[in-house]
Subunit: 217 residues, 4 copies
DNA sequence: AGATAAACGAGACGGTACGTCTAGTCTTCAC
DNA sequence: GTGAAGACTAGACGTACCGTCTCGTTTATCT
């Protein structure tokens, strides 16, 4: 992502130590605000630069594309949110990840309900939807999006499922990385593709189906 | 979809009876070819018109956007493919839909394996990926994409599951429309978002997990 | 003007006897009205056709260009005006042309004053200015404009000057066709090119200078 | 001329100090060449931009219309020609304007003969004819054309006539600005409107008629 | 009176150019 | 010597007309 250095002429890499933190922040803010306000397709680099009070070159110097700017802006936003959340928690509690109360179904349902709520938060919806869309069509960005944003999230589910396996609540022969998709992917698809509305009841049902299957026991 | 008639001056709707079938076909072909060759973002209306040997206005007269052209082109392609498939089948066999051999798991696995193959067919991949991406970010198109392409496919799974319910192979309290997502959505997400590779083994596993759950029985 | 029949395939010449007089009149009216309202450059053949309630082909069938339509429309207008003027005159008076009272200077001044007034009539100004402009840049139309509209007018001056020569009021060695330009062309240039305002005093002065020269006698 | 700033949103005026002289020259050259080669109506802004190797926006940034480009291009050409002529002259001779040998008729005839030759020079004919035509129909451009190109030329005649008045060769009560039209306007009209051919003999005759009148002395 | 054929209103078609917008590069000036 | 400002080349956007080409629908003679 960072900087395109594959091309012919070895562009002298900008000196990152002298980079203006002020501009970086302003660009993130402008990019997120514009995506939220006018949508991703109508968000332009010129627009971001103008809103951030920054020259276009300052954007092209540090990012390779509109999608790249937005990806980093969103990553930054997520980190800030995570940081805030972490700080807000009581100090000695498990810092991050999916809770493990011993009740797998309840834990998954709780987290998925929270995810549903988050997906409906407009501040998150516009940029993450934009990034997801761009990632569908732009494989490089798609992989970056998955690696830096999605996979870390999914890993938390995998960890929880592995813990459940150790507790005997999930069969040992089950691959947690696949199993988690049984409830995560349906939610993702409904949200991304508007195939159907999402709700707490829906995600609860997904967890039940995924844990116990749909055949008679 | 149809025609923009929301704006101020009521543009007289073009006379569809005089529409050039030749141009329509040429536009579909050009649009699909360009999306496959240079990708959706670099496919332009000017490019489609030039390649189709058609005036730009002929495109703007009948479609409202590049996405709209591609959606119809892809629908047309699908219909043609379905038509071909239908014709290729023996006359008395069940014409369309998911086979029902009595073995639900085997039937689902077979269809999903075929889907995996289709998703890897470049002729289908480029346009459907492009449409899916556009649909993520453009709700109107997204809903049209789902309603006209995706949902009819999903309905076939729902039908098969309902038959399985009647045969006692699926619990009666299960909602087929949700249940199908347990194996369809994971595949869709891996394909769309590059979260992980897809394979026949993978979809087989999904069916097994979905049918029997991941908890010990 | 008439009809382009130089090209390869011998387009069957339209049958003028079956031509719709109604359409012809409507086209003339629409053309003149549009030129007066929106100016010549913004007058389009589509616009004329729409306003005249006529198919575009009906225009292309009978005229070769926008300029051609306007030229004929203006000729028609001029003929009608001349006809009206002729009818309005007493029956036995000299029907047409420049009066000959025996006083050359007075006669020329009177006619030029009338011309100044006519040039200021908006109904004449827009189309004649448009035709003159087009004629400057389009030699074929320019020559047609001169031959059919301008030269007949100038001929009247030449006739009056010749009569004056016979009466001994103009030197015998003077070429009337050139002499008339001494007062006609300055007026034409001021009007066409906005080089200076026109007035009755101005044309009176032109006649005086032209008749007696500008050197001391 | 300058820049359109009448519209709603106040488009930020471009910074003239940073203007590319290279582009400006290339645009002038391309515009003049195209007008000479294919004529004014078939000269397009796109064509000028392409030929000049320039983006369309660079033309729209600095000029408001095709006519405006051509006017400035032609002014530039005239200035260059005048500059060249000035440099070519012997240093102590009267730098510019109409010669004053004491023989008014001869001086005027000489200058008009030179003008006839210039009007026949294709390099000047196409653009000046195009500008004149556009000026007939577009008052704003017409006035600019007159003010910046025509009137300065005419002023030279007025100056020479005033000198002749002081020398007693022209009557004191004659208005030089009007008198000059007696020989300038006829030539202009013949050239512009193709009313008749132009020649050295013709302009000589015009001078004779204008100086001495057409009546017997 | 009916047949026949051309002119007609309408408007879709392949095109060209318009004037605007944005991409991404390059240059200038201020801090 | 970085970074804002913005002019530059390039080219797609969506619109407006061009001139050509069908369509059916009048008209208007010619059987």
């Amino acid at each position: 992502m960072a900087r395109n250095q594959s091309a012919g002429r070895p562009v002298p890499a900008p000196d990152a130590t002298r980079r203006s933190e002020r501009s970086r922040r302003a660009i993130y803010d402008a990019a997120l605000a514009l995506v939220a306000e006018v949508g991703y397709p109508k968000t332009t680099i010129e627009g971001i630069a103008a809103r951030a009070g920054v020259g276009k070159q300052t954007i092209y110097r540090w990012w390779s594309s509109k999608a790249d700017v937005l990806l980093e802006a969103f990553l930054d936003l997520s980190e800030q949110a995570a940081e805030t959340a972490r700080r807000a928690q009581a100090d000695d509690r498990p810092a991050y990840g999916i809770p493990d109360t011993g009740d797998l179904a309840a834990d998954l349902k709780a987290v998925l309900r929270a995810t549903v709520d988050e997906l409906r938060d407009p501040a998150f919806e516009a940029p993450s939807r934009a990034l997801a869309a761009e990632g569908v069509v732009n494989e490089e960005l798609g992989r970056a999006f998955v690696a830096r944003l999605l996979e870390p999230q999914l890993q938390l589910y995998a960890d929880r499922l592995r813990a459940a396996q150790e507790a005997g609540d999930v069969r040992a022969d089950v691959d947690p990385r696949i199993a988690l998709e049984l409830f995560v992917s349906p939610l993702a698809q409904r949200w991304l593709q508007y195939t159907a509305p999402i709700s707490h009841e829906y995600t609860d049902t997904l967890v039940d189906y995924a844990l116990h299957g749909i055949t008679p026991r």
